[in-house]
């Protein structure tokens, strides 16, 4: 791909869209529990690997059907990740909900280290390549819209993210479940008094966030061609920065923040080389904390999930 500025911007927005899906998990859990879910990056990584495993099983079962295997792979990845997210909530968070802030954070870090090295030991120590057979069609075909050149994969990422965002906003703002979610976020005790099943709502938040992270994971591994056991915490760091940038606990903010982070990263890579992108993310994080610690959209408390 030639590296004109427009291509770089498109690449940055696609990355940002993937970060947004991960950042939503952070921001929703924070909105409901007031705690950071440190194992979220690892859930993303689990999603990446389970999709590849599922595609392997399907290709053994009925052959290499690109669309079917990929779609089912994403679905299986969502289910498995959701399972891990639920397990994370049950093990690391539920019993420690009333404890000192340090306790659930530490246990979540324990879970995240455990999951990283679980994959390291059982699946692979080195990077695994995403099966190119499934992603070649998407990466090699391009759509030209004036000066901008989208690959089909980028269109898929942007389109899927857009659809998911719309569905999520609808869910949060216009359904009974969303009302229960917002009620739990505002006041757990009060919500439970009016009959909201708080435990189930919190578990649902983890499950929803994990399923979104799994989709992001599958697309990220297609986009970068590699899967590795420690990719989770760097994505986690980026997505978390995005969530803070947008105002943690704020759903549209997380999306906005993620797009900004994606663009910053793309421009850094363009200007200085890809080895500096963590430094730029960190610089963004420090700048936000210095200049606007509540985040870009942080004040709209009413819209907080």
């Amino acid at each position: 791909m030639s590296s004109t500025l427009t291509d770089i911007l498109v690449g940055g927005i696609s990355r940002g869209a993937m970060y947004a899906l991960v950042a939503l998990g952070y921001t929703m859990v924070y909105g409901v529990l007031g705690m950071i879910n440190f194992a979220h990056g690892e859930i993303f990584m689990i999603g990446m690997f389970s999709c590849v495993f599922a595609m392997g099983v399907f290709s053994l079962a009925w052959g290499n059907l690109i669309v079917l295997n990929l779609t089912l792979g994403i679905v299986v990845a969502m289910i498995i990740s959701a399972g891990y997210g639920y397990a994370n909530e049950r093990i690391a968070y539920r019993r420690l909900r009333k404890a000192h802030v340090l306790a659930p954070l530490t246990s979540a870090i324990g879970i995240s280290t455990f999951l990283q090295y679980f994959i390291f030991l059982t699946v692979s120590r080195d990077a695994v390549n995403f099966p190119r057979f499934y992603s070649d069609y998407l990466t090699n075909h391009h759509l030209k819209l004036g000066p901008v050149d989208f690959s089909y994969l980028q269109i898929m990422i942007l389109g899927l993210t857009f659809v998911i965002m719309c569905a999520l906003f609808y869910l949060i703002n216009h359904t009974r479940l969303g009302i229960a979610l917002r009620a739990t976020a505002q006041d757990q005790l009060m919500a439970s008094l009016v009959g909201v099943p708080v435990n189930k709502i919190i578990a649902f938040t983890f499950i929803l966030g994990s399923a979104l992270a799994a989709i992001a994971g599958v697309m990220y591994s297609m986009y970068n061609d590699t899967l590795i056991f420690n990719s989770g915490y760097r994505i986690g760091l980026k997505a978390f920065t995005a969530a803070i940038l947008g105002g943690i606990g704020n759903v549209p903010g997380a999306v906005l923040g993620a797009l900004i982070i994606g663009l910053t990263e793309a421009l850094t890579t363009y200007g200085f080389g890809s080895e500096w992108d963590d430094v730029s993310t960190f610089a963004m994080l420090m700048l936000v904390l210095l200049l606007r610690p509540r985040g870009l959209l942080g004040e709209r408390v009413a819209n907080k999930v």
Binding site: M35, I36, S50, F53, A54, G56, V57, S59, L60, N64, I80, G83, Y84, A87, A92, L96, K98, A99, H100, V101, L102, A103, P104, L105, T106, S107, I109, G110, S112, T113, F114, L115, Q116, Y117, F118, F120, L121, T122, V123, V128, N129, P131, R132, F133, Y134, D136, N230, L237, I244, E275, W276, D278, V279, T281, F282, L285, M286, L289, L290, P293
Partner: protein
């Protein structure tokens, strides 16, 4: 049966979730770039076989805890080891008795063991420093190794350009510099919620590692070596390793003394007050932000000084010093030993550093008589156990938080403080 149902369901769930990773294997096909998954039970069997000693140890601990609940064995042990608890008259002097004993240890060990003990000392320093923020003040720091590497790299770079810059000048200079670094980093995020600090320090360590492995004057991925004149060397008939050991041991004693005095001073009381309830602390006049900043910069300063010592004793510095694993190991030491308990974190550092280190050494002994007498699968599991250390660290962190949040050496009171906000 009904009592066991949730456990059985949980176990089934975990088995289902881990099934693909444990019992299947990826078989990439390089000709047409497809992928297939093969049934590979030997994979999962090996995983559980390797963890067998860990399961056995866990079973023993569980049985011990059950027995203790019944017969109160630990009461007698606690009475014999009363110096560790409230008895102030003893706790004030035991360090002065232990110090000559520990220093005499210098002459009983061979060089490789001494190097190991020196490293343990450096990790003890790091655990002491991290304990100030995490254990005493209740703020989570995830990139503590960043400050450690900061100290080490400050020493390595300055001594390259200055020529004569021995460690005993570098350490006192790195101490305030590390503190300043911590202050600058803590300033924007300590005004906010405490858990921002975790992410900011994690980002700092990552960014620092990325910077030092990309720049030329920091030696890139290979790191830098320290000139012979500037590192710890043999003196007055003592070998290089012996000097390093004595120096590190003295610094650890100094740090323990210093931290303990601080902990029992009004500053330490303020830290504990912030940990227990920030709002209440500020209501009774504790300057919350200043105290948090002081705790954080002090622990950063200690890490920087420890970094200089590590560079001076090893003779080189490299970006692996501030890997995420390092930060996690130090955090695990503090948690295992006991959040906020100075002697506990020393014990935690020693255990978590020595156990994996000896596991590594075990693999060198595989031809010895004891090992050849073990059954095959047990021998294999001992050889592989070193790979599993971070998996075990993670599990230990979760289990400690759930069942013994006060750490190995900690009081029941501390447990209640952590579990019920």
């Amino acid at each position: 049966m009904a009592r066991w149902r949730p456990y059985l369901l949980g176990l089934l769930g975990v088995a289902a979730l881990t099934f693909p990773f444990l019992w299947l294997q990826l078989r990439p096909n390089t000709t047409d770039n497809t992928i297939q998954t093969a049934w590979a039970p030997e994979h999962g069997l090996q995983f559980f076989g390797d963890l067998l000693p860990v399961f056995l140890a866990a079973l023993l601990i569980w049985l011990g805890v059950r027995a203790n609940r019944r017969w109160r064995l630990s009461d007698t042990i606690a009475l014999t080891a009363a110096w560790q608890s409230a008895d102030k008259t003893w706790s004030r002097y035991w360090a002065w008795i232990a110090m000559p004993l520990v220093l005499c240890g210098t002459f009983g060990f061979g060089p490789s063991n001494l190097t190991l003990m020196t490293d343990v000392g450096i990790y003890m320093l790091l655990a002491l420093g991290l304990n100030i923020t995490v254990g005493m003040t209740g703020l989570l720091v995830l990139g503590y190794a960043g400050f450690y590497a900061f100290g080490a790299y400050f020493f390595a770079i300055t001594q390259q350009h200055a020529g004569f810059f021995p460690w005993w000048i570098a350490a006192p200079v790195a101490f305030p510099l590390g503190g300043l670094m911590g202050y600058l980093l803590g300033l924007p995020c300590l005004r906010l919620r405490g858990d921002y600090l975790a992410i900011v320090t994690l980002g700092f360590a990552e960014a620092f590692r990325e910077t030092i492995s990309n720049l030329d004057f920091t030696g890139g991925a290979q790191g830098l070596s320290i000139e012979a004149g500037n590192k710890l060397r043999g003196l007055a008939g003592l070998s290089h390793q012996q000097v390093a050991y004595v120096v590190v041991a003295l610094v650890v004693f100094l740090a323990v003394f210093f931290v303990q005095r601080l902990y029992h001073s009004p500053i330490g009381r303020a830290w504990v007050a912030i940990r227990e309830n920030e709002i209440a602390a500020s209501a009774v006049g504790v300057p919350v932000v200043q105290m948090k900043l002081f705790a954080f910069s002090l622990s950063a300063a200690i890490a920087a000084a420890a970094g200089v010592l590590s560079g001076a004793s090893d003779g080189f510095v490299s970006p692996t010093l501030c890997q995420f694993n390092q930060s996690i190991s130090i955090l695990a030491m503090v948690i295992l030993g006991g959040l906020g308990n100075t002697y506990g974190v020393l014990l935690g550092a020693a255990l978590l550093y020595l156990v994996p280190e000896y596991l590594k050494r075990v693999s060198m002994l595989q031809d010895s008589a004891f090992f050849t007498s073990l059954p095959d699968f047990l021998r294999a599991s001992f050889l592989h156990l070193a790979d599993y250390q971070f998996l075990i660290f993670g599990a230990v962190m979760v289990l400690m938080m759930l069942y013994r949040p006060q750490g190995l050496l900690g009081s029941t009171r501390r447990k209640e403080e952590i579990l019920h906000r």
